[in-house]
């Protein structure tokens, strides 16, 4: 099995590493912040991040340095940075590990980013269910204040920063950056129509950067080791490593940090140990619940932003969900739609109305009550949602449907023709409902 240098998971894999400030300090922590404050200008930092090619790890993969450079320079009044720790995408659980095991690394990244964009206030928006994560982050923030890495005049540089932890209340949509901003503002977490973008009209209508936890954590390493070093890892425009959360019937589910650009085959069969009970792999969700399904013939697609997009899906949140031969694809799509239907915020028409219709049709097919024109209905409803919504949730909720119909049409037809789910006995189905 090929092995790679770990960057983000390195500290926490040291024996006895607790993530405390002392441990983080021993591992060289806050040296990047010191370097930035003593020797670099905000512009230098932005250029370094730009050159490194770092791209957002939250979903869209937007170049981080470019995002920072959109923040207006001489804008009077406050600017903000919000670190997105809402991690709620089904099948994604990497941020949680980072938060719980190396919180200071995130804080250091945030501090550097704030220095770069000229923000003196940052919020970490953490998923409500991350109870211990919130506790750990709060303790780390307190430690960092005490040690002078946060607060007024950090390391006598004249730069000041306050970080606040804001706990979510359980809505998946609050991970969407504008819904996240609304939520911090104390409003209902509903996405805003874009443009304008947060870079100019963000939190309290002020210039704001929203970045994922993992994105933030990469920053100190790039400062310490240079943009060339970082850019040399990975493949093409997808630089650096990424932590993939592999789940499903594999032998070793878990988080794996690898350079961008290895194949799904390597990830599933080498790192994750292959399929449990040596079952046949049937489908892969390559990047969290919002990504279109892959099939076994796509195992050699490379795990970088470009290759996955070219193959018709997205690297998204880094959640790799594996399904084996026993998994019903209609059931899988229905299961995801149950999630999306439950989480649709209800702001815009196509998603609000469409999610309910889609789910009802899928439930009917899965229950053996499908009609042949249902497949057309599913596709045409999906096309009415795609590209028509306020936020990317709309595209996300139709991805599983459109891709399972595309790859597994025969399975849908079998449900309809046999008037039952071929993967389950009716008894099981009755119990499931």
């Amino acid at each position: 099995m090929p092995t790679y240098e770990k960057i983000l998971l390195k500290n926490m894999e040291r024996p006895g590493y607790t993530g405390s400030l002392t441990d983080y300090g021993h591992a060289g922590g806050y040296s990047a912040l010191e370097k930035v404050l003593k020797a670099m200008s905000p512009q230098d930092v932005i250029e370094t991040i730009k050159k490194s090619g770092l791209r957002g790890r939250g979903g869209a993969g937007f170049p981080t340095g470019v995002k920072w450079s959109f923040i207006p320079k001489d804008h009077p009044g406050p600017k903000y940075l919000c670190c997105n720790a809402d991690e709620s995408e089904p099948g994604t659980f990497k941020d949680r590990q980072l938060i719980e095991n190396d919180p200071h690394a995130i804080l250091e990244g945030i501090a550097i980013a704030c220095f770069a964009i000229g923000a003196q206030t940052a919020y970490i928006y953490i998923r409500g269910e991350f109870f211990s994560g919130a506790k750990i982050l709060n303790e780390a923030i307190a430690e960092a204040y005490r040690a002078g890495f946060l607060g007024k005049n950090i390391l006598a540089s004249g730069f000041s920063l306050d970080i606040y932890l804001h706990r979510g209340a359980g809505a998946y949509i609050c991970g969407e950056e504008t819904a996240l901003l609304e939520s911090i503002e104390g409003k209902r977490g509903k996405p805003r129509s874009k443009p304008p973008f947060p870079a100019t009209h963000g939190l309290y209508q002020r210039p704001t950067v929203v970045n994922n936890v993992e994105t933030m954590m990469n920053v100190p390493h790039i400062i310490n080791r240079g943009s060339e070093w970082f850019a040399a890892i990975g493949a093409g425009k997808s630089t650096g490593t990424r932590i993939f959360s592999v789940s499903g019937p594999v032998k070793r589910p878990g988080n794996y940090e690898v350079p961008l650009g290895i194949t799904f085959r390597e990830m599933i069969y080498e790192h994750a140990g292959g399929m449990r009970s040596d079952k046949q792999l049937k489908a892969i969700i390559p990047g969290g619940a919002s990504a279109a399904f892959f099939t076994p013939d796509q195992l050699d697609v490379k795990m970088d932003f470009e290759s996955v997009a070219a193959a018709g899906s997205m690297l998204g949140s880094g959640g790799v969900t594996v399904m084996d031969e026993d998994t019903c694809m209609v059931w899988a799509a229905m299961n995801l739609l149950e999630f999306f239907h439950h989480e649709s915020c209800g702001k815009c028409t196509p998603c609000r109305e469409g999610s309910a219709w889609l789910l009802q049709i899928l439930q009917r097919i899965e229950a053996g009550e499908g009609r042949l024109d249902d497949l057309h209905a599913l596709e045409s409803l999906s096309h009415k949602i795609e590209g028509m919504t306020v936020c990317a949730f709309g595209d996300a909720e139709v991805a599983p449907i459109l891709s399972t119909i595309k790859h597994f049409r025969a399975e849908y037809e079998a449900h309809i023709e046999e008037r039952r789910c071929p993967f389950r006995s009716n008894v099981v189905l009755a119990m499931a409902h």
């Binding site: 209800g346 196509p350 409803l381 590209g387 919504t389």
Partner: protein, 856 residues
Amino acid sequence: MDGMIKLTFNGQEIEVKKGTLLIEAAKVAGAELPHFCYHPKLKYDANCRMCIVEIAKIPKLQTACSTVAAEGMVVRSDIPRVQEAQNGVMAFILGNHPLDCPECDQGGECQLQDFAHRHSPTVGNFGEEKRVFEKEYFGPLIEKEMNRCVSCLRCVRYCDEVIDSNALGSIDRGSITEIGGFSHHPLDCEFCGGCIQICPVGALTSRASMYDYRTWQVKKTNTICTYCGDGCQLSLETIDDNVIRVSSELGIGRNEGDLCARGFFGYDFVNHKERLIRPQVLQKGRRMEVTWEWALNKAAVELKAIKEKYGPEAIGGIISSHCTNEEIYLFQKLMREVIGTPHVDSGARYGYINAARALSSVFGTTRLARYEDIVNADLILSFAGDMAETNPICAIKIKEAVRKKGARLIAIDSYNSGRDTYKSHLPHIAHRHLEVKMGTEGWVILGLLKVLDQKTSCGPLPSFETIERESGIGEAALREVAGLYAGAQRGVLILGRAITRNQNGYQNVLNLADLAIAAGQVGKDGAGILALAEENNELGAVEMGGVSEYLPGLIPAKAGGKTLVEMIDAAERGEIKALYIIGENPVRSLPQKKVKEAFQNLHLLICQELFLTETAELSDIVFSAVSFAEKDGRYTNQEGEIQKVRKAIEPVGGSKPDWMIFSLLADKLGSPFHYKNTDEIWKEVVLNMPPSWPALSKGAIASSVTSYMKRERKIIIPSDDSPPLQGGVRGGHLFDFQVGQSLYHSGKLSTYASGLNTIISKEAVFIHPDDAEPLGLVEGEIVNISLPVGAIQAPVAFSKRISRGTLFFPEHFSLEIKKGLPLTIDPSTHVPYGDRGVVTLSKISVAVSTKNLTIS
């Protein structure tokens, strides 16, 4: 042209102002884009996705309501790609919509019906079950039918952005999203009706007119609201001489389509079953209905007899400032020229005259600020903490200035800055709020003047220590506020009934004029002074000569004309023998005076009314008059805007417009007027006005100020033994007490409107919950209020707007309470002040049922 940009819309090159949204630009190209959530009054939300267009070089379709037109943009809405997408969204909206148009009140004026015709796919994809919500009555006046809702949130945004009431929100998520109040409590809001009007579909409709009409059956008449001085334009919608409902049109009128509860729900007094429909006379103690001929003859004969025996000065006339300009003009003409008496007065005497007289004596006019000035001001100095209740639309202008345009509001009043959950309150959004002890605004004005006018050209002013002792406001706050006011680019000063209807009112307005002059906030663009009028035509009443001191056009009348209170006193003394009262009800308004006894001294009391009021009941002759819905004419609002009142229905029963009754009476008195309609009267009015009328030039205002400054002026220091200031330290059981106006009513008239009565129909005394708690009071419990004279019992209601140590009592139901309050008369204007006093509140020892009542 400067500030314009060019773009191409559906192949047509168009030019629009910079900053125009594409949905508005489309109109220039002759295209109406389908839309639900967009509304020009509101910030865009782009949630319905109906207005999508294709913009060249942008791969995804964009919402036109949220996209600002840019130079060179190439936009299309007429291509299959866009139309298919629109049909797709429409299919989603219709998917869950019930097919209940036949029983929906919105039918015929529903945007969903309209757009569905144009943008519906012919085949539906939906074979599943519809989502169903139970119908709910959303408070007493609004029906909520969420199956019809398209989730555009216009209602929520209107209630928040325009009204600042925040009574509505979206509840739940996804396909079960619905509109509601927090935790499904009954709606307890300002009841402005705005959400009903702005809802594009029939999801929110008025219960007051439920199932009474189809829109194509109603006749719409644009007219002006008859309640307050804001002067809102509204449409009376009528079927067969019945007013069915009220509506207003976005952007139209001084109110730009916004209304308050009184305007929207307060219409059905017009067709009230107790309306007087024929003249009545009191014959040997018995009241009987008679013909017009009979009643007019009787009135003329008796008036002539009194005039002959006692002279014309034994006759007096009082007219309501709810009447039109033409009517007030004609009334004073009848009294002064036909009968020959100088004793003419009107409802403006209850307070507005203080403002009208003081401002016009300083500036030569009262027209010193318009609503546009408020909206565009950078600073608003308000002496009207209750404006959202007394003059709600003017308050909307302030909310717009403060919340949308960033103006700073300085509020000086005796209200708390706290607000009740679902009601707006101006002190709450003030940049600076000076909460003064009740009745001490006058001291604060002197304090501000002292800061700005160091030369104290007005004579010696009290020390800051005295001012602080009296009002509770210290020198630092006074300096700060005066500095902000004087430093503003466009400072607008607003004064309400706290100034005009309370002790020292006339002098206080004069002092405010001095303050505005000292601050440099008059005579420059955008700055000015606005005196709020409680009744719709108070300024008109003064300008038309409906007060003893002025002939039409603010021309000073010869001395000797008696004011309202003087007429009552003269009647009591037997000097005045006959009174002709139009729409006023002094028996009720001035309980401290022995009005009833005075009137019983009269030889002749003639009353002209809609209802058999307390005063009408005493009258020898009652003429049945018509309401604003049944007549033409003009009202002048508090800004000085002269607006047309239009007849919507024929007079109810055998009633007649006031101006016609005056003409008929003039005939009988032998001096016929010969007016065929109100336009002919108005022509005569305009000819009688000074050439500078209505608006005075800046130059003329400036020279008026110059000559005012040369006159000898004397500041009258409020004496600290004036009645409201008596008593010990507030707190415990001792309270400052104020009788005032509620948002949901206007005088007594509105209590005949069933819609408004469903909101409030009973008296109550409002107290701050923190004052109620130590007294162990529960909301709704009956308490005893000991007045300077006597006592009354009333239920308590809690409001966080009430200043600690004060109580508030709405004036619309029983005015018995005023009997116990001291009455003082303004030495200059004879305005009767009797709305304040010091009282003791105590629990009634017998426990009253308190079930289902909670402390908020």
